[in-house]
């Protein structure tokens, strides 16, 4: 029978290392690196078996541990003569510092967690509805009719004219047809007729913007390979056919 053991999850390589050190009850300042490295790698193997994602950080730490382990195996240089022994830099030192630093914040985090637990049991009161007490801006357009606006507008125009300034007022028109709509139109025409002349798609009543939009939709449909365009010879009528594929 196959069964899975749920292992503790770790926040990262430091978390796992720290856990191993705690479990072994070894001195953090004097980590038996060979032992811990083996256990660390064993744990990663277990993670693999359990189909847990092993992030690259865990692997980096594993190789780092092995590097330290091998460094520790190298014979140390004997200090020459009877001079004061210069302290050799322990290859573990860097790791130890980082672990201790990490431990600090891990502990702080757990202290914060207990504070969070207490303080999540507190309720606050929403702010009173103060809108009614706020000074309101008087509506600017109260009592103004549409014709008042037009009068005012005309006044401005005539005033400007008197001053000899050119007034250039243009109307901004809403697009008669959007490209999306036009493409849908074209598609349905093509499905119905299978084959049309280019000129059939345009007529004299069309506004410039509609012509442009229609043309753009033809280009789009060609790009999408919905239609193909054929011209037998120069200046011949262009034929648009639905693409069979």
């Amino acid at each position: 029978m196959k069964y899975n053991v749920i292992l503790e999850t770790f926040e990262g390589p430091f978390d796992l290392l720290y856990h191993l050190i705690e479990k072994e009850e070894v001195d953090i300042y004097d980590i038996p690196i060979a032992k811990i490295a083996d256990q660390y790698i064993e744990y990663i193997e277990q993670m693999k078996d359990l189909d847990l994602d092993i992030t690259s950080e865990f692997l980096v730490m594993a190789s780092h541990l092995l590097e330290i382990k091998s460094k520790m195996l190298l014979p140390k240089k004997e200090p020459e003569g009877e001079q004061l022994e210069l302290e050799e830099v322990d290859p573990r030192q860097d790791l130890i510092n980082k672990l201790i630093e990490y431990k600090k914040y891990k502990e702080a985090a757990s202290k914060l967690k207990s504070k969070e637990k207490v303080h999540s049991k507190v309720f606050f009161k929403p702010q009173e509805e103060l809108d009614n007490f706020l000074e309101k801006d008087e509506p600017v357009l109260e009592g103004v009719k549409l014709w008042d606006l037009i009068d005012a507008f005309n006044k401005v125009i005539s005033k400007n004219k008197k001053n000899g300034k050119k007034v250039n007022i243009k109307e901004i028109k809403r697009d008669e047809i959007t490209i999306e709509e036009s493409i849908e139109n074209l598609k349905s025409i093509m499905k119905r007729k299978r084959k049309v002349k280019f000129s059939e798609l345009f007529n004299n009543n069309m506004s410039i913007s509609t012509i442009v939009v229609t043309f753009l939709s033809i280009l789009e449909l060609i790009k999408n390979k919905f239609i193909i365009v054929i011209q037998k010879k120069n200046f011949d009528e262009i034929i648009i056919k639905i693409n069979k594929t």
Binding site: E11, G12, P13, F14, D15, Y29, T55, E57, M61, E87, V89, Q93, D94, I96, N97, K98, I100, E101, Y102, K104, Y105, K106, E107, A108, A109, S110, K111, L112, K113, K115, E116, K117, V118, H119, S120, K121, V122, F123, F124, K125, P126, Q127, E128, L130
Partner: protein
């Protein structure tokens, strides 16, 4: 105005406002010196505690707010079924505590302490408004510096950053390699 009246006004202000109200605002409203107001609020906090009132005044930096007491949670729970606020994940807590103690700090520094990436944890605590950008480090790439918010203090019931739980000072071993 006698002290009792001032206290009563402050209580009314805090009640109405609901959100954290700053010492400066209170002082300018009742037109009394800031330090005096602080003194009065401090004594109010004591009185509220001493009289075991159902409401307490909490402090975060120089802002004050009314809240219920955590020990009444079980009773309030009977009144309604409060949404269980999801507590922070360990990753988020670790990231948050590093920021709290070492702020302002860049993401790269946090990651080097934790030994893992912390994008997700960081975005969670930013979303919860516990941490915010406090500036840029004037170095290559101008990385963002992060710091805690007043909301952070409120969330953990801290009066100020000085209220953070003590963590061990760096040990002597730390300096060996220096």
């Amino acid at each position: 105005m006698d002290k009792r009246e001032i206290k009563s006004i402050i209580e009314a202000l805090l009640f109405t406002w609901g959100d954290p109200l700053s010492l400066e605002d209170i002082a300018s409203i009742i037109e009394i010196d800031k330090n005096k107001v602080k003194e009065i609020i401090d004594s109010m906090i004591d009185e509220f505690n001493y009289q075991r009132r159902g409401i307490q005044i909490i402090q975060m930096n120089n802002k004050y707010q009314l809240s219920t007491r955590p020990e009444h949670y079980d009773w309030i729970k009977k009144l309604c079924s409060p949404k269980k606020n999801k507590s922070l994940s360990n990753a988020a807590l670790e990231t948050l505590s590093i920021i709290a103690y070492k702020q302002p700090i860049t993401k790269a520094e946090i990651e080097s302490i934790r030994g893992v990436k912390c994008d997700k944890a960081l975005s969670t605590i930013i979303e919860k408004n516990l941490v915010k950008e406090v500036g840029r480090l004037e170095k290559t790439g101008r990385p963002i510096l992060y710091g805690t918010t007043d909301e952070f203090l409120k969330y953990f019931g801290l009066k100020s950053l000085n209220d953070l739980p003590q963590i061990d000072k760096l040990s002597d071993h730390e300096n060996n390699t220096a």
